[in-house]
Symmetry: C2
Subunit: 249 residues, 2 copies
Amino acid sequence: MSLEQRKRVEVCFSPRQFELYSKDFDICVVIDVLRATTAICAGIENGIDKIIPVATVEEAREYQNKGYIAAAERNGEVVEGFSFGNSPYAFMNPELKGKSVVLSTTNGTQAIVKATAIPTVVIASLSNLDVICHWLIEQHKNVLLLGSGWKEKFNLEDTICAGAIADQLIESRLFRAEEDSTIAAKFIYRSARENMFSFLRASSHRRRLRRLNLNEDVKYCLRPNTLTTIPILHNGALVKLNYVIENAL
Amino acid sequence: MSLEQRKRVEVCFSPRQFELYSKDFDICVVIDVLRATTAICAGIENGIDKIIPVATVEEAREYQNKGYIAAAERNGEVVEGFSFGNSPYAFMNPELKGKSVVLSTTNGTQAIVKATAIPTVVIASLSNLDVICHWLIEQHKNVLLLGSGWKEKFNLEDTICAGAIADQLIESRLFRAEEDSTIAAKFIYRSARENMFSFLRASSHRRRLRRLNLNEDVKYCLRPNTLTTIPILHNGALVKLNYVIENAL
């Protein structure tokens, strides 16, 4: 396919830059590897019916008061008054099967709320990397990969995941990238992929979670392709997209 | 030196993130490799007395009306009514020796104006890489490296230059980095340094300047260590810092 016919795939490092990048995209892929979007993918794959992302803890509390199951995390810790935060293991709890869960996190749910400016919003993590790439290639629309970052700043793990998706899409020769941020993300991913865990050893959020004894969560979040589910935003809630990879592309 | 005693060196990718990073730094190093800060370094080294950075073209015009020599660039081109923009070769014109020049550019001078929130502001480019690193190491203060980016977005060439400075400072073992942006910049620099010109081939601004037939400017801007001057902001104007490397560190 000629360069002009290809669709665009670009990386936006954090919600702070979203307005600079958000024009002319059909699909926004939200990424918060440590840990919100990994937890969302794991929860939906393990049978949660709906996850309702909300930006503030107050909104989560209002839902809780109406009888909803609600989860909230700030700065890596479960917010007081909530029984869980954004640990993927908590989202795999069999008691949540068929239920709706409201979720507010430091970065990920804020990014999802911003992303709604783009018509279609889906959720990615390293856990569902290949399935999301397959689906995006089949859609063949302009894709913005939005890292959640850390408090509006750039972070490494979301950039690596975005770079991994951009790399697969560009390699299909059906997509092209124009932005320097996309070139950089792809490049960082290619250098990190052999040993992501050690590459991320120095990253700021890894250090933060290590202090909180969350190393098991981190290991789960950095393992690629353990899941085959794509959560998609539908009427304000994340639900399972009906999609199965039928043939390798 | 123990990690705690080390001073910080961090990279901020573009003026859009400046407020997220600007606290607790003593020195801000502004970088706009293509081409504003390269032109400023070349101009000051070649005898321009003062360069007055202004954010808007209107301000540049007001100075011009008062009889100042003024230069203005937008989107890579000289603004109508100005005799030059931000080509480093224009700043080496012998007729400018001993003169003051007012300058407004798309990205670089905007970044300089923002940087004034930090007590000391100096100017870097690949052209004066080693001298600025020597000087920063001697100062041993907290350093923020501010890329000018492209219209508030991340760009590759400023990130590579910032990564090169961060790398030298961290290698001295007198500085440490905490932010993921700094880890990423250092990493991108290390991968690009063997062949910067080809690494940047795909970069968005290179493409932009190639269309404008500015390849000679680009070659000059990407050549490291052709200059030994550090421009420093003093009472709103960039002047030559009185500094000569006396001994290798």
